[in-house]
């Protein structure tokens, strides 16, 4: 699969995983918050498979970061049932995920 397609797939998966993770942080009152962290981990594992398909250069890394930021913001805007504060931690969670994947 081409790099651009993989970037698209990788950022889609990371977006969903981060949305679950952010949901588990901001909706802390939910009894099942821990469960959503696990949902995030399952999706992140799938993203890791895509990550390992390519060698990413600095240009790709920048592209991934930008796409992820746009997609996650849009995703969080749509999920109005996630508590306020989701946007405040968005960038921090993106950075953490990118660092974990060696894409920072």
């Amino acid at each position: 699969m081409g790099k651009n397609k993989d970037i698209h797939k990788l950022t889609n998966l990371m977006t969903k995983a981060l949305r679950h993770k952010i949901g588990s942080i901001v909706n802390k009152d939910e009894f099942y918050a821990n469960k959503y962290v696990k949902d995030a981990e399952v999706i992140m594992k799938e993203a890791e498979k895509v990550l390992l398909r390519q060698n990413w250069n600095d240009h790709d890394k920048g592209k991934i970061r930008e796409q992820l930021r746009i997609k996650l913001r849009k995703e969080l805007e749509q999920k109005d049932f996630l508590h306020n504060g989701k946007f405040e931690i968005m960038n921090e969670e993106i950075d953490k995920a990118l660092k974990k994947f060696g894409l920072f």
Partner: protein, 263 residues
Amino acid sequence: METKFIKTVSKGSRFNQIYVPKSMESLIEVGDKVEVRLVKKLIEIHYSKGLKELSQFKENLIKSIFSFLNENFDFHTMFIVGSFLTEKIDYNDIDIVIIADKKDENFEEEIYNKLIEKFNLKFHVLIIEEKKFWRLLKICPLTKAMFSNFVCNKPIKIPNESLVNKNHIKFLLMMPYDLLEIRLNSRSFFDSLRRLITIKRFLKNKSLGIAEINEELKMLMADFLYKKIRDNEEIEKNSINFLREILKSKLKIIEDLIKNGEE
């Protein structure tokens, strides 16, 4: 030499009582001052309605767990839920739910580590604040289903009352919606379908027994596919498409049902 004795508290007609043993009546006399200290709390277990009696081994294990938690952490309400109660041997871990005045995540981990150290078994520990617990039993289909079967250290009645909270339900629907777009392991489909069946049954005021939920899920697909996704085995693309169709139809039913719920 210290003058002491250990006795069991007995039920009196007006007050619970402890008798001074006959052999000690000259040592501890009327008018003497004594100190009474709890040495070991009696642990009783109470079954939820309809739950089959557990084996002596499982009952004793639960009593030991409750006793350990009571002695070390002084909790007043503790539950065992999940497959440990319903499966003879195929249970995943022992799910413990503790009702506490305040939730502390580090505390959860401390309890988990101490339980593992003591019993060398797999546990899953959840602490929940009392007021949230009662609220969740009204609004959360998954919590309600979890408490369809339980063993508790005291008699407790789970209320039947339900309240539809749209935001909470939407929160629960995130993963099933994701599975329409992304491909994850097959167990994710199993969990999401089971989640949707639970939510649908909750919204329709149907029983949330685990056996009934699993039965409804089984009816949706061939036995081989049910077993494959339950055991997280690899599945073909056409099976994924089939499962997505089921997800879609269940999501549609739920969306229609929650239209009139509270925000």
